[in-house]
Structures are given as C-alpha cells and as structure tokens.
C-alpha cells in the first residue's frame, strides 16, 4: 500500500466534485433511511409501552387505556391524536369499567420544564398517583420529586378540592395537603402548581362522573393487559 498518490495533482473538474458529493450524499441517505426504517417499529413500541406503563402506574387497577381528546366541547376517544392536540388518557379495569383519567401536564420547575402524568378519579375528586416523565431538577435535591418514595406516595389519595397545597414536612392536616420535600420546596411547589393548573384547565371539559366515554376495543389495550 502506498501512503500517498499524486492522482489529484491536477485540479479536478467541478463536475467531478459535484459528482463525488452527490454520490456520498446518496449513499448516506440510503444508509440513514435504512436505519430509520429498521429501528422505527422498536422505537414506537418502546414509546407506547412507556406511556402505557406510566398510565397503569398512576391509575391503580387499570388494565386498559385509550387516548381521549376534546373535540367540539366533547371528550372523544381517538386512535392517534393529532400533533400538538392536548390529550388525556382514560383508564379502564378488567370489566371495562371506567376508573379514572391519566392526565399529562407540564410547567416550569426550578431549572427546566417538568413534565408529569397524574391519575385522577373524577367521581371522588381525588388524585390517585403521580409520575414524573421528564425533569432536569437539581440532582440530590429537586430530583426527589421522583426519587423520594414518601413524596410520590403522597399523591395516592389527594383531594383537589379546593386545590392541592404543599405544606411544610410533617404538617399535613387536611386531604388536600401534601408534605413538601425538605430542601426542595421550589420543585415540590412546582409539581403541585402544575397539577392544579392542569386540573383547572381540564375540569370544565370533563363530562360529569358516570358518563365518561366507553372504551373502544383495540388490540394494543389487550396484549399487555396481564402485566
């Protein structure tokens, strides 16, 4: 093998330059399409599974779910919600009875946007679970909003009437109060505020308890129902 050749001693024609780049781009494009096509099913499946696990976590007893959106003032079930359309998820148990809603909500935290999902039972007006989907809160302090088991468990039965209030640790008195995390007051209050705001925004759009949309049978709802 030679280390260097003088093939390019004379300046190549611009045709050659364009051609080289075009071929390189073409091959690159084919490679990228190939990898995209072959990984897409796994990626979508991963995302769907993550969402389903989160919904099942914040709504205990739920084994089926469907996406619900607000169209013309009415809550309807959809297969795939439009992009940027606010969506909530209805959770149903084994007997296809409605259990509650899983509501995604987001808002500013201490550092960056916190995205959460919380379970809500409209008949009891109770928050029954909370899961942080995304946050960049300070490690060791703000990240306790998803690492502190006591705090997360505090959302297992929390009244939204009149609204949720974060109080100093150990001073929870009434059903709508939750003990804030020591040393992470700002992040704790942010989570509570996010839920309160989402609740206010959605409460007028939810149908009266008892008349929630029934579940449309879809195969995805059943396949992993056992888990």
């Amino acid at each position: 093998m030679t280390t260097d050749t003088n093939k390019q001693a004379a300046p190549p024609s611009s045709m050659r330059l364009v051609l080289t780049l075009a071929i390189a781009g073409l091959i690159s494009g084919i490679a990228i399409i190939g990898i995209y096509e072959s990984t897409l099913p796994t990626i979508t499946a991963n995302k769907a599974r993550e969402l389903r696990e989160a919904v099942f976590k914040v709504l205990p007893g739920v084994t089926r779910m469907q996406a619900l959106v607000n169209r013309n003032g009415e809550l309807v079930a959809v297969e795939a919600p439009d992009k940027d359309e606010p969506v909530i998820y209805g959770g149903y148990d084994e007997t296809r009875e409605f259990v509650g809603y899983a509501m995604p909500a987001a808002g500013p935290g201490f550092q960056d946007t916190i995205a959460i999902l919380y379970g809500y039972k409209p008949d009891e007006k109770l928050v029954v679970g909370m899961e942080v989907l995304e946050s960049r809160e300070t490690p060791g302090l703000g990240d306790k909003i998803y690492k502190d088991a006591v705090w997360v468990a505090g959302f297992n039965a929390l009244s939204v009437e009149p609204e949720i209030v974060a109080v100093k640790k150990g001073t929870k008195r009434s059903p709508n109060e939750i003990d804030a995390i020591t040393g992470a007051t700002i992040s704790s209050k942010a989570v509570v505020r996010i839920i309160n705001e989402a609740h206010t925004a959605w409460s007028s759009n939810l149908p009266p308890p008892g008349s929630e949309p029934t579940i449309q049978e879809t195969e995805t709802a059943n396949t992993e129902a056992g888990q």
Binding site: T3, K7, P12, A31, T39, T42
Partner: protein
C-alpha cells in the same frame, strides 16, 4: 515490523497523545455527559463506533475523494455514522438515549473525529487508519470513564448504579452538576501534567547521569 507500526498507532492514542488529557479535544461531551459512569461508557462507545467507521471509510476512499471537497465528504460520512448510532441507541437503550439527549447528534461536531480524518485517516493506509482510530477512541473512552467514575462515586456514592457505601453516604451534589465536570477534569489534567513533568525530570536526570558516566 508491521505489527509494531500498528501497535504504535494504537498506543499513542491511548496514552501519549490521549485526545482528552494530551490534546484537550472533545471537551463538550467530556464535560456534559460524564455525570455517571454508564453515560460515559455509552458516549464512549458511540464515539468509538463513529470514529472507527469514519476512519475506515475515509481511509479506503482517500484516493477517490478530491481534496477540494474532502471536508464536506468527511462530514457526510461522520454524520451518517452518527445518525446510525443515534437511532440504534434510541431503539436499544431508550433510557440511556434520554440521558444523553442532544449530545449524541452533537458527536458530529466533536473536533476529535473530524481532526483524525483530516490529520490521519485521509493520509494513511486503511490498516493504520483503523488502528489510529481505535487507539484514539479507546483513549477517549478511558478519559470519559475516569471522569464519569469519579463524578458518580462522589456525586452519588455509586459506580454503574451500584451503591458503594452505606445509606448514610453524603452525596457531593456539585459533582453531578456541570461545575463538577470542570473541577474533576481540571484536577485530572493537573495530575496528568504533573506526572508528565516528573517523568521528564526523571528522564533528564538519567540522561545527565549517563552523560557524566561516559
């Protein structure tokens, strides 16, 4: 002879010309994703894949690529490998991909990779180019891992997610935050240079003694 040559290209990237400790390249991923050992390894592996793949292709086609458009060609090749790495990580280990976030696509902008194509792969035969790329990538991985390990041990009391101390361990929060990256890197560079300084001093002493002796 030939074997030695390859070995030489490999070992220089690991130690003498280590991309981080000696050349101070690739600082952006170095500081951003080393808050845990597992993130450091994921980033190191992704960089390894991109660097070795690109070096192989660039070196194989070095006689066909006109030098007027070589940088564009290098970038196309690198970007393709980065995209492949990005989707593969997203499909296989979504959790790690989420942690690394924007820093996977940013491998394209890692000056270490483009630098090796321009300085080495485009001038040397494929075998040496690949050995050089492996050496550099391993050196980069070692640097990432040493930073990530120090930061995870101090910042979380764990290594690869395994708790090393009792539950009462007080984590050094700063180590997981960006300033911890700067501090740790600075201290490691300090030791690397101190070691080099001491070694040179020692070699000088030896040379001096030999000169006197002869």
């Amino acid at each position: 002879m030939k074997k030695n040559e390859s070995y030489e290209e490999f070992i220089k990237g690991v130690w003498r010309d280590n991309p981080v400790f000696a050349q101070v390249l690739g600082m952006c991923p170095m500081l951003a994703v080393t808050n845990s050992a597992i993130n450091a390894v994921a980033m190191g592996m992704a960089t390894f894949f991109v660097l070795v793949g690109s070096s192989f292709l660039v070196s194989s086609f070095r006689n066909w690529i006109p030098k007027q458009v070589r940088i564009s060609c290098f970038i196309i090749i690198i970007a393709t490998f980065v995209t492949i790495a990005d989707y593969t990580l997203l499909a296989l280990v979504p959790k790690v991909h989420k942690e690394l976030g924007a820093f996977i696509p940013l491998i394209v902008a890692n000056c270490l990779i483009l630098g090796r194509q321009e300085a080495f792969a485009s001038r040397y035969p494929t075998r040496l180019a690949v050995m050089d790329a492996i050496g550099m990538a391993v050196g980069f991985l070692i640097a990432l891992l040493s930073l990530g390990a120090v930061r995870e041990i101090l910042g979380d009391g764990a290594l690869f997610g395994v708790k090393l101390f009792s539950v009462n361990f007080e984590p050094w929060v700063i180590m997981i935050l960006p300033p911890g990256g700067f501090l740790t890197l600075g201290v490691i560079l300090l030791f690397f240079n101190w070691f080099k300084f001491k070694k040179d001093e020692f070699l000088d002493d030896v040379a001096e003694a030999e000169r006197r002796g002869s």
